[in-house]
Amino acid sequence: MGPILLVWRLVRADLRRRRSEAALLLLAITAATTTLTLGLVLHGVTADPYQQTRAATAGPDVAATASSPLNGPVSPADRAALNALARAPGVIAHSGPYPLTWAALGARGLKAGAEVMGRDQTPASVDQPKLTQGSWIRPGSAVLEASFAQALGIHTGDSITLNGRSFPVVGVAVTAAIPPYPQVCTVGCDLELPQLSPSNTGLIWLTQADASSLATDRERLEYVVNLKLANPARADAVAQAFGSNSHTLTANSWQYISQQDANLVAAEQQALLAGSWLLGVLAIASIAVLVGGRMSDQIRRVGLLKAVGGTPGLVAAVLLAEYMFLALLAAVAGLLIGRLTAPLLTNPGSGLLGNASSPTLTATTVAIVVAVALTVAVAATFIPAIRAAHISTVRALADSTHPPRRTAWLIAMSARLPVPLLLGLRIAARRPRRLVLSAVSVAITVSGVVAVLTVNARNAQHFGSSSGLNNPWTNQIDQLLLLITVMLILLAGVNAIFITWATVLDAKRSLALARALGATPQQISAGISAAQTLPALAGALLGIPTGIVLIAAVNHGATMTYPPLWPLIAVIPGTMLVIACLTALPARLAGRRPVAEILQSELV
């Protein structure tokens, strides 16, 4: 009990002395744990809204389609197959076959595409879309799918054109048979018209007559039938079997449709998990910076502990315990914040009814987050703790264990450079480990930025012709990516400031001496900034390929997208500029401290 109490007391005293550092560290690790919690918690959140929608609309277990071949209408054989499926054993109810076609849609000056489904005015037994606005279809009028309507900014009473013909919108509804906009084409689209693309196509209902009248030679009429099975669990098998031997016959099970509904959330989850990795590594770098910055102070404490009889084990324990305690706090904070903010990300959108199930923290999630936080703390402090435990007491008290490094070739080379670079290079070379941490910190952030740029470019490609539609997918993903990027940049910025401050403290005497020998304060400030900007350059150069590798890893083998060239090249000077600006203030302050004071205090 005694040693534990002692360790606890020492940890508490140290944290109290260094409140701001502890707070910033807590922030860094909490960012990582929150992102991780969100990523883990998002699993399966759309399942509930989908079920709600399914129940409310009598959603089908299988939706089967007979599509038209390249040069002709749907073959009679296919139509017969569709009808046969509707009467197959195990099918307890069906609706359709309904005509289906594709048309160019115009609304409020926007150009989009529509999957046009023909329906009866009377309610169907399977898949009757539930109205959220207005009333059901009448001849000559249209009902839009809810998230499509939102993307277009269309309400009941507005008017749209389909292939040039005007249709008033009399209602807005949701369905469980086809995923909401912009996921419509994940269950199959047949887009021949040039205006149509997966990113701007949504679902719209007309009367069967109206729908059939929209079919053209390019976009022929297709047929869809909705089935309810005696055993819904068999939907996958049934759907597979139906579409197995034909190019024109396809079927989707409710499980598959549900999955597509979850695509947005799945993408968010991916982004969050990748983001939490980056933030986690950045948090390790932050801790390493702080631990390194306080090295000489720590070493003296260690010496004192040992001199009064602490064992090497106690010494290592104190060092580790402090950061593990912070990590634990950060884990708890991350879990709480993640749990509270998850609903913001789990909004199923207007295409599904109801709210997402309130995300729960399972025991696994909690365990993973805590384990990751503790690993981060241990990874950053393990080596210093072991080293501290084995330092000889005398050397620790004399503080001769942490002299600056000498790199002869760097010193020789710096002599040829102008004074600020001379100073900067020499300052940076004193602590090679800090240099590496600087570069790593920047590299992580840059790789995150590169990854985000790539995803943006890909989304732009994919959804490029959204042309003004309010695409919920890109909106939400964009916001999330922006959030992660901002967190990365903030943390890297904090790291940069911390490293600068540590450098200034560590090089205090040398800089004061340089000023006594005739370096101007401006040269000193520029030197300190240069000492940070040079590793930032290295970090930026390292971060670009790392970002590309990160994208490849997250894609798992799908087609590789590369980041756009010009923004990529701009990242390098951009990073250096940001770092130079961030370090300018501490650097300036360092250049202005009274020299005499510093040199005198060295005597004490």
Partner: protein, 251 residues
């Protein structure tokens, strides 16, 4: 008050450095008038805390006075910007500190050439000058050693060489032998005598009487103010006879 025939290279008038306010006002340097002629060695002695180090910092532009003027060869220090002071420090002033203040990660040569590099001279010129100076102080064989491999006296000699790097008008030394044993003190003493003989202007703050004895003028300081001044020039070796008794050589 008329000047002497040579204009003084270093001059102060009514120099004051105060801090604190009201009842807590402390005068670290109190109304000091000083004149140092070219080639003169001036020693300032006094008990610790009397402000002699602070005075030296004011003379070298490392600190700004509260009132008064400091003139170095016609430039007024107390009104200069930091930039101007820095330029002055690398062309006209050389510092020697009690704690040596060498950069631990640079060799002796690299330490000595630093002021020249800061002044913008080419690396080669700086290196040559450094070699020259190290020879002058007798440390050519130690040129490639780090300070940790040098004794206290050797380190201070490197520091003196560094102070001479840019041919300064005046060398300011703050307790140069404070951290040295008697043998090292002798080495530094010889160096100062040699510099004096070569015409270098020196202002030395010390409480070592041996160093003070090498000066032309000795100024005593107490509580920030000058209280006494002694001319130490002259004194023939005839006085040595008096010391015979001191050594116990009389009957």
């Amino acid at each position: 008050m008329s000047d002497s025939t040579d204009a003084p290279v270093l001059r102060t008038r009514g120099l004051c450095l105060e801090y604190g306010k009201g009842a807590g006002l402390v005068r670290a340097v109190d109304d000091v008038d000083l004149r140092v002629a070219t080639g003169e060695t001036v020693a300032v002695m006094g008990p610790s805390g009397c402000g002699k180090s602070t005075l030296l910092h004011l003379l070298g532009g490392l600190d700004k006075p509260s009132h008064g003027e400091v003139w170095l060869a016609g430039s007024r220090l107390d009104q200069m910007t930091e930039k101007g002071l820095a330029r002055l420090r690398r062309t006209a002033i050389g510092f020697v500190f009690q704690a040596f203040h060498l950069m631990d990660e640079l060799t002796a040569t690299e330490n000595v050439e630093l002021p020249a590099l800061l002044a913008g001279r080419s690396p080669r010129a700086a290196r040559e000058r450094a070699a020259e100076l190290l020879e002058q102080v007798g440390l050519t064989d130690r040129a490639a050693h780090l300070p940790s491999a040098l004794s206290g006296g050797q380190r201070q000699r490197v520091a003196i060489a560094r102070a001479l790097s840019n041919d300064p008008l005046v060398v300011l030394a703050d307790e140069p032998t404070g951290n040295l044993d008697s043998e090292a003190t002798l080495d530094v003493l010889r160096l100062f005598e040699a510099l004096h003989a070569a015409g270098q202007t020196l202002v030395i703050v010390t409480h070592d009487a041996r160093i003070a004895a090498t000066a032309d003028r000795l100024i005593s300081m107490r509580d920030g103010a000058f209280v006494d001044e002694t001319r130490l020039t002259g004194g023939a070796t005839g006085r040595l006879a008096d010391l015979a008794g001191f050594a116990g050589l009389d009957g």
